[in-house]
């Protein structure tokens, strides 16, 4: 166990995990998930929000088993390595808002940092602007860190605090099993399903869940994080997490080549629009929000599985943000930004700057 622990903490470990995610994300597309969306934490949480009726956009409703697998895989890993540690109490309301803003930004671009990589790996040139925005947002975040920005300390706490989110996820999984999809029906029991659009495109339940569990397990161990990759590079000149992120990109690209899924271009890319500025600005918002919250959406999900109640609040913030985005016309579509998407980006940036400037603490 200790050799395995060392391996996952090593450079080879993080690269293996990144490559594993890249290969299986591309395969999930082959197995039914939407184009360049083998795994997208933001999009999938948005689909979950739709599945439980928090928004009612017919094309993005599906209780994505990958996300449930992420949480439960991380939980298993945390227990296997005696690392499950219930903790909370570090500015939960701020984390909730950061989650909402991150989702609002991600849905203007149409993807989380993981999907930025998968879109690039699939040849979607629009993702270049998203990537630039992500790096820009994280860079602004590092300036706040240097200025003393800090969400405050967490506290070790009752086991229940660590268990609640995994239990919610188990409950969702139970719902998914009780109310399976009925062909050509929008509703099954209390769950909503898409009969067309990205929400209707998915791999089989067992496949999605298995990949999710495996990714959750290895990513929890290795601390894989697509925001931390850039943050550590910019802040510390450290390439540890970055090498994992790069491995994801390369592995997904090569797998796409083999599967014939690499289609370079800008127009007509799957679940993407071509408005460069807003692809960029949406990801500035998301990147800054992830940086201020201390992890990309994937990492937040894994931490929520290992007992971090604050990360769980961030995830719930993202799911709420998805509902807000779709209910209020903030989210983009392949036609371009939503009617209030541009206003949302500007307001989100203002709120993020407010949080960054006001939550400073000289800890030394």
């Amino acid at each position: 166990m200790s050799a395995l622990r060392e391996f996952f903490a090593s450079r080879a470990g993080i690269i293996s995990v990144g490559a594993f995610i890249g290969v299986f994300a591309a395969l999930l597309q082959k197995w039914g998930n939407p184009g360049n969306m083998g795994i997208c934490v933001a999009c999938f949480e948005r689909d979950i929000a739709g599945a439980i009726g928090l928004h009612r956009v017919a094309v993005v409703q599906y209780l994505r088993p990958e996300i449930l697998g992420f949480v439960l895989g991380a939980l298993l890993s945390a227990f296997a390595f005696k690392e499950f540690r219930p903790r909370a109490g570090s500015a939960p309301i701020v984390r909730f808002v950061l989650g909402m803003l991150a989702m609002i930004g991600a849905l203007v671009f149409l993807g989380c940092p993981w999907r930025v990589l998968l879109r690039l790996a699939g040849g979607d040139g629009n993702a270049i602007f998203g990537l630039l925005g992500l790096v820009g947002g994280v860079w602004i975040g590092t300036l706040f860190f240097k200025g003393g920005y800090n969400l405050g300390r967490t506290q070790s706490t009752y086991a229940a605090v660590g268990w609640l989110f995994p239990l919610i996820v188990l409950g969702l999984l139970a719902l998914r099993l009780m109310f399976p999809q009925i062909p050509d029906k929008e509703q099954s029991g209390i769950l909503f399903y898409s009969i067309k659009g990205p929400g209707s495109q998915h791999a089989a339940l067992a496949v999605s869940l298995a990949v999710g569990l495996a990714v959750g397990f290895v990513a929890q161990r290795s601390r894989f994080c697509t925001m931390g990759a850039w943050r550590d590079l910019i802040l510390f000149r450290q390439i540890h997490l970055f090498s994992g992120m790069l491995a994801l990109l390369v592995a997904a690209f090569l797998t796409n080549l083999v599967l014939g899924q690499f289609q370079p271009g800008f127009v007509g890319q799957p679940v993407a629009h071509t408005m460069e500025l807003w692809n960029f600005a949406g990801m500035v918002v998301a990147g800054l929000a992830f940086a201020l919250a201390g992890g990309c959406p994937g990492r937040q999900v894994f931490m929520a599985g290992e007992g971090d109640g604050d990360a769980a609040v961030f995830v719930l913030g993202m799911i709420s943000g998805a509902a807000v985005s779709h209910n209020f016309g903030l989210a983009s579509s392949p036609q371009g930004v939503g009617p209030y998407g541009i206003a949302a980006v500007i307001i989100s940036l203002a709120v993020l700057l407010f949080i960054g400037f006001t939550m400073r603490q000289k800890t030394s």
Binding site: R85, R153, Q238, T363, S364
Partner: protein, 72 residues
């Protein structure tokens, strides 16, 4: 008595930031860093190593870790 950085309860990147800030003010000697997650322990150790500091001792105290960093 070596200096102590208390990074318990802080999440990434704070433990590393605090440790590096302190290490840069020291040319050699010993620094004790307190953290309370495996992630922070690994990150602090990795960052210290990049400046040539080795973790001489890592003690687990309940759910917390006490890292003794050393450069000679």
């Amino acid at each position: 008595m070596s200096e102590i950085v208390d990074a318990r309860g802080l999440s990434c990147p704070q433990p590393v930031l605090l440790t590096l800030e302190k290490l840069k003010s020291l040319t050699q000697g010993e620094l004790v860093v307190l953290v309370d997650t495996d992630t922070s322990r690994e990150n602090v150790r990795r960052a210290a190593a990049s400046l040539g500091w080795q973790a001489r001792e890592v003690q687990a105290e309940g759910a917390e870790f006490r890292l003794t960093l050393e450069k000679t």
